[in-house]
């Protein structure tokens, strides 16, 4: 097992080296700070170093540090995502506990689920009249369905035995929820949370490209307009990195709530 891990790690490094050298060889070096066509990895790395070493500078609306942009994006993510989590877990528990309600609402959920969260944007802009909050609502819509579906599924699948115990003990609704229903369904709920943090992070980039102003998505689009491809590539790598960190966070949460029967 250990040997296998070492091998995999070695192969990963080898692939990276191969990819970077191929990339470097096929791109032309920059002339007088202006890149010729697609920039190479060295140019991107130089730009990355520049951005990371001063992440919070603010030189007007079109020139802010990567730290500020990511903070905006993560702030919107946090708002929209936590609101969605609260609503979806609450609704999901209700649906999971009541098969009749589940059957009644399921057709609507099935129709709403596949809609791209960005398709709601015009409606949000029209009703909320604020682009920042509209982006938050897009995150809300993108996170809602996976959490809702997973919570309802997890709660509906709770073993009869656990519900019998709570019935015998005559637990109040709140205690039943807190001591039996939520812990029993927690692995499924966290799986939903994990899926939707990923899709929410994907959606925020697109939403911010549309609304403009601030955020990592806006940054990508703005640098494209400036023809700063080094910054675009750097920002793409940053979104990937943040996505991994978010996913790892939920990965460790999943380990905490998993139980052995």
């Amino acid at each position: 097992m250990k040997g296998e891990r070492k091998k995999a790690f070695g192969s990963s490094i080898l692939l990276l080296t191969l990819f970077l050298s191929l990339w470097q060889l096929t791109t032309k070096p920059a002339v007088q700070g202006k890149s010729q066509g697609l920039p190479g990895p060295a140019a991107v790395a130089a730009r990355a170093w520049e951005m990371v070493s001063d992440p919070f500078y603010d030189r007007g609306p079109n020139d802010k540090g990567i730290g500020i942009q990511l903070t905006y994006s993560l702030g919107r993510l946090l708002l929209g995502y936590s609101a969605a989590a609260v609503v979806a877990i609450f609704l999901g528990v209700l649906l999971g506990l009541s098969p009749a309600l589940y059957r009644a609402l399921n057709p609507y959920i099935q129709i709403l689920k596949p809609i791209s969260p960005l398709a709601w944007m015009p409606l949000f802009l029209y009703t909320i009249k604020d682009s920042g909050w509209s982006a938050v609502m897009v995150i809300f819509m993108s996170s809602l369905w996976p959490i809702l579906a997973n919570t309802a599924f997890g709660v509906a699948g709770i073993k009869r035995d656990y519900l019998n115990v709570s019935a015998l003990l005559q637990l109040s609704w709140l205690r039943r929820l807190w001591k039996v229903v939520l812990p029993a369904a927690a692995p499924a709920i966290v799986a939903g949370l994990r899926i939707s943090i990923g899709s929410a992070w994907v959606a925020i980039v697109a939403a911010e490209m549309l609304i403009g102003g601030t955020g990592i998505g806006y940054f990508v689009w703005n640098e494209w307009n400036n023809l700063q491809l080094t910054s675009v590539i750097f920002a793409i790598l940053m979104t990937g990195l943040v996505g991994v960190v978010l996913d790892m966070g939920f990965g460790s949460l999943a380990k905490v709530v998993t139980y052995r029967e």
């Binding site: 035995d161 656990y162 019998n164 115990v165 019935a167 015998l168 003990l169 005559q170 637990l171 205690r175 001591k179 039996v180 812990p183 029993a184 927690a186 709530v257 139980y259 052995r260 029967e261």
Partner: protein, 282 residues
Amino acid sequence: MAFLEVEFVSKSFSESGGKSLCVFKDVRLHMEKGEFVAMVGHSGCGKSTLLNIIAGLEQPSDGAVILDGKEIAGPGLDRMVVFQNFSLLPWSSVYENIRLAVRAAYPQWDRDKIHDYVQRYIDMVGLTGAEHKKPAALSGGMRQRVGLARAFAVQPKVLLLDEPFAQIDALTRGSIQEELLRMWMATRNTVFMVTHDVEEAIFLSDKIALMTSGPEARLAEITKVNFPRPRVHEQLAELPEYNRIRKNIMQFLKNCAQEMSVDGRPKGGDAVVVGQELSAET
């Protein structure tokens, strides 16, 4: 009037195609306060279903269960079940599992009182030191000790044991049975137990109710077991009376199985002497 009265309870399940399958019919069983009654029968005779009906987890199709003068309408803290598969909450520790039940049963108690009480029951079943282990980290015998502690801690009027030791290895089973008897002697709960282990039924109970085989199972016979308590496995096994009862029950179960295989229909019902025996009691 008896403490717990099962009055002409029947249970049918609807099958596909609109037909309904009658599991057992017109079961009538009276239990006095503090009595230990075991029900024995082949699988499929509905004995666990009857236990769930007494627990209030299932509804009878016909008839009623009356506990202490009141008809049972649903589950309640006056009846606790010890389940065959333990049914402990796997995300909670031993301590938390018992504490949940104690808090539910005694909502007026404060933190310290609850803690002392929970700890007393953990000590009683010999799980001191394992308080903070999760059920998955315990053996079957230890898990069922938690199940027993949880049920006894609530101090229900009736304790319902649903094949509680069926999943426990034979070596541990004997000692946990003796432990159950010890706890029962201390509290003198009324106990209704379902089992297909004849020796277990004789060792533990005052009365054994024998069910014919399902479908349409009937309560065929009630055997009294009058051995003095406390009982010890080794001593009991040497009594001729023990072997006589054991042989009779075994013969009864064998006959049930044969009748089933002969015409595919259960016998019993008509040839039952239960009525007399019950009326003698009431």
